[in-house]
Chain length 377, copies 2
Amino acid sequence: MEKENLDPWGTSSVKDYGRLQSEFGIEPVAPLLPRFKRPSPHLSRGIDFGQRDLSRILDAVDNNKPYAVMSGIKPTGDFHLGTKMTADDMVYFQSLSKKGTVFYAIADVEAYADNGLSFNETSKIATKNVADILALGLDPDRAVVYFQSEEMKVMRLATIFSRGVTNNMLRAIYGERQIGLYMAALIQAGDILMPQLKEFGGPRPVLVPVGADQDPHIRLTRDLAARYHEEYGFIVPSAVYHRLMLSLSGDQKMSKRSEDSLLTLDDSVSAASRKVLNAFTGGRDTEEEQRRLGARADICPVYDLYRFHFARDDAHVETVYHECTTGIRLCGECKQEAAGLVKSFLQEHHRKRDSMMKDAKELIDRSRDYLGSRGSQ
Amino acid sequence: MEKENLDPWGTSSVKDYGRLQSEFGIEPVAPLLPRFKRPSPHLSRGIDFGQRDLSRILDAVDNNKPYAVMSGIKPTGDFHLGTKMTADDMVYFQSLSKKGTVFYAIADVEAYADNGLSFNETSKIATKNVADILALGLDPDRAVVYFQSEEMKVMRLATIFSRGVTNNMLRAIYGERQIGLYMAALIQAGDILMPQLKEFGGPRPVLVPVGADQDPHIRLTRDLAARYHEEYGFIVPSAVYHRLMLSLSGDQKMSKRSEDSLLTLDDSVSAASRKVLNAFTGGRDTEEEQRRLGARADICPVYDLYRFHFARDDAHVETVYHECTTGIRLCGECKQEAAGLVKSFLQEHHRKRDSMMKDAKELIDRSRDYLGSRGSQ
């Protein structure tokens, strides 16, 4: 069977997570679970299902050694429930040890190149995005936030890597793409490997929490880390993969590209409620049928709201799943409950985030000074 | 007939300059010659044979409007007689008006990516390269020198352009290449268009003096300037093309890639003499034959030394050509004379350059301050 390429730029969800393990070599997370003292909801609920070299991060935690958690965002709009998942992972893996530092890349050059957003516009959006992460629990004292447009070290790495890859390598990983996307991929590799430059203390384990569809970037970067190991001492970066959340219409992953069925962290409580109540579900055609057969939680974005974000705890997820699939719970009441949870979350989140805009600006300024003082190679 | 691509990264010389005009649309320089008050030796000797929109620069000169002259170098070694040609053109076109500013890019990221030279090493080489240009007559008060590794504006443009080109466009211009070369081409387009950004005063005519084999970069950049005209107001850049000098072995263009047959501006007088005396020539097999048929100046790198660089004046070039092709002059004596001219030039150049190392450092520092004050967009 021919290998199908994952599309990190697409809107499709991933159908078969098992295939990712067998074909692309992503390892399961489960065997490592006993090493976590307090597994996150993503871990305990099987949302973080896969990993590469995650044990390297756990070793650093156990041995009180420094490690980094790296992620980024294209600042084109509000945080949504898809980006929140990566943020939750960042926050959690940062919290495992005082030696964990987050590097957060704001891809403003990409936002400009692809979406025509000026650096002024993206700067405002990014500040709000950073406030979102702080509200989700990021420790600003161990975080570095940078704008792609200001970080020459990343662009240098991308240029260097562009001489080290062949078109065939890129095609094997991404399929035939326009050069702009290949270049974006090389810049991302620069983002992921930058924390290991000597200016930042040299090689250390780096964890990248990503959606499963981003694995091509991880494979490329791991390959580059190995190729440039001799020169830079790069440790091959680790990754943890989360399942992709369904959009509210149930037909693709939740992303900025499917706005109608997107819940953002900036939605008003009323807009969010309306969206939840209008969502696609895994329900049956009639009540009678649903009572008899149960509904299909596995294709239901409302169930995803519970499981991925808003359930009070793991037992709550199990209850919802059980009641749904055995026909005890009908979709109307289930949506009502979900809408209530979303509402509580958003009210609290908006309050927290608004109070953290100043901290976000400070984190960005402090990071700018820190990166500036790291100067050029 | 299928179009053959020019290879800006190759070692071949250009065989048929007429073809460049008919196939690629390079215009002849000759019709514009009357507009030059004091044509340079490159112009009067037909070395600068082609141009695109050169009249736009002459208009700026005539109307006392600002224009820029843009070029660059990969700082991997000493200036040689090939790079000197571009430098001579830069100096000449800067001198046409007090409103002419030179932008000079030092491609240190490329030097690192391709040649493994550290930024420290390239910084030293670049300073010497800049001293070479100053010794050749560059006015430092109207020049900006920058290192690629420090100039985020160029990288931003390259990233933006990477989204605006298709692989097909790049293939049509360069043939099928590895992504690293495509990326280098987009960075060069960024270099050429940067002087027109609003930070530097906004759109103005820019002249790029290049060897004929670099035309693909010019075509790409002109295409991008037109594509991004609406957003940036770019004026499509102008170019002037010089013939490629033969290497001393006569079989390819003079470049760093054919070191044995390269004359550098750092060669000792004795090494340079030895190289000239050992050069390939267009001479005949026997003296008798040469006296009878004349020698072939058109394939002779020693004749190129006179014509491109070291003849006292145009009349001297004509004398050498006439004596050579009619058999009056034999190769031995011709080489001796050439070696003497090279020797005088190098002695004088070394003296000047050594006295200008401090000015070179100052120009680089002053440029760094100037560019830094232009900040980010």
